[in-house]
């Protein structure tokens, strides 16, 4: 599921119309509609992503998932990851290793759980 579909599903769950979301975020309604139907990429601007998450009142983990999905759809690293990459020399090697393994999302989750437990 891409960012647009996730956004729409969370908005409808909250019985929020496009107008409600546009008014609460001050983002153009036609733009939100295009993002939701995935004819354009999600916003890259972290402030916009935060504004949307805030308007939807998303709990921490869901908010992070939305931002991560926006980054994936934009073929970018999430802003916090990108910041850490710049600071940590071994990061590209680690990511390349993981990337070359072509792991499924389940295996990736397993790996991150392992790292969380171990480190």
């Amino acid at each position: 599921m891409g960012y647009g579909e996730m956004l729409r599903s969370k908005r409808i769950e909250r019985e929020m119309t496009l107008r409600d979301l546009s008014s609460r975020t001050d983002i153009d309604v036609a733009y939100i509609s295009r993002v939701e139907r995935e004819t354009i990429n999600p916003p890259q601007d972290e402030e916009l992503l935060e504004a949307i998450n805030g308007a939807l009142n998303l709990p921490g983990q869901q908010s992070q998932e939305m931002k991560d999905q926006a980054a994936v759809d934009n073929r970018r690293f999430p802003a916090d990851v990108a910041r850490n990459m710049a600071k940590t020399a071994g990061f590209p090697l680690f990511l390349r290793t993981v990337s070359n393994k072509n792991l499924t999302p389940e295996k990736l989750k397993e790996l991150s759980d392992f790292i969380n437990e171990r480190y």
Binding site: E15, T17, L18, R19, S33
Partner: protein, 237 residues
């Protein structure tokens, strides 16, 4: 230029429209026993999404195609969607829900016509190349169903009963001349409360159903119209 084919249109007026809308709403989890009549109007935008016909907002639909909204066959996604003009949607908040309800009604009762609408030009074609009398029937049928989707009679009756009870004094003070006058007065007040246009609410109040809602309520609350009251008599019930 595409030729939009219009099939035989069965007769759908107020009462059949009520039944169609009511069955549709019940089938989709609305109007359950104990449904809160104070939560009117039904949020048709959310309803449309839930039944698989998402509402999408577009710029310039009205300025380029003279179209506030249209049901549209998105072949790629294999579903009928509802497209609405962004200006109309954002700036006419009290009538845009009716536009959405009307397009949802078209999908419900005129799907064979609207599966042929694949571009905004097709919709313009439907407007310009269909015989005026046929077009009027199509629009009227959709309006009847739309009104029932937004303000279902079964809940609206309860809403009006509670509203009249609460506002009886102001109704009597207004001294309505006739049924239409009373409906105008009530529509003005209620429209402001529930965020719809006066015209939409008045239409719902005056719906010609098996049960005459307004007649029933005026009798219950003993409201008399000026035209029915003899000179020098008190109008209050």
């Amino acid at each position: 230029m595409k030729d939009i084919k219009i099939p035989f249109l069965p007769r759908i007026e107020e009462e059949p429209a009520r039944k169609i809308a009511e069955a549709f709403l019940k089938r989709n989890g609305y109007l359950q026993e104990g449904a809160n009549f104070m939560r009117l109007p039904i949020n048709v935008e959310i309803l449309a999404h839930r039944v698989g016909h998402p509402v999408e907002v577009f710029d310039d639909l009205q300025s380029k195609f003279d179209c506030k909204g249209t049901a549209y066959n998105n072949k790629e996604r294999k579903r009928l969607e509802i497209y609405i003009d962004s200006d109309h949607y954002m700036n006419q908040a009290n009538s845009a829900p009716f536009t959405i309800a009307e397009e949802l009604a078209h999908i419900m009762i005129h799907s064979s016509i609207f599966t042929q609408i694949e571009t905004p030009e097709d919709r313009a074609q439907l407007e310009t190349n269909t015989r005026e009398s046929t077009r009027r029937v199509i629009e009227k049928q959709a309006k009847c169903v739309a009104s029932e989707l937004l303000l279902p009679s079964i809940l609206f009756h309860q809403y009006l009963t509670a509203w009249m009870q609460k506002n009886l004094k102001s109704i009597l003070d207004d001294r309505p001349n006739d049924e239409d006058d009373l409906a105008t007065f009530m529509a003005r007040k209620i429209a402001a409360e529930i965020g719809l246009s006066e015209m939409i609410v008045k239409r719902a109040i005056l719906r010609k159903l098996d049960t005459n809602i307004l007649g029933d309520l005026t009798a219950r609350f003993g409201i008399k119209y000026i035209k029915d009251v003899p000179r020098n008599a008190s109008i209050s019930g």
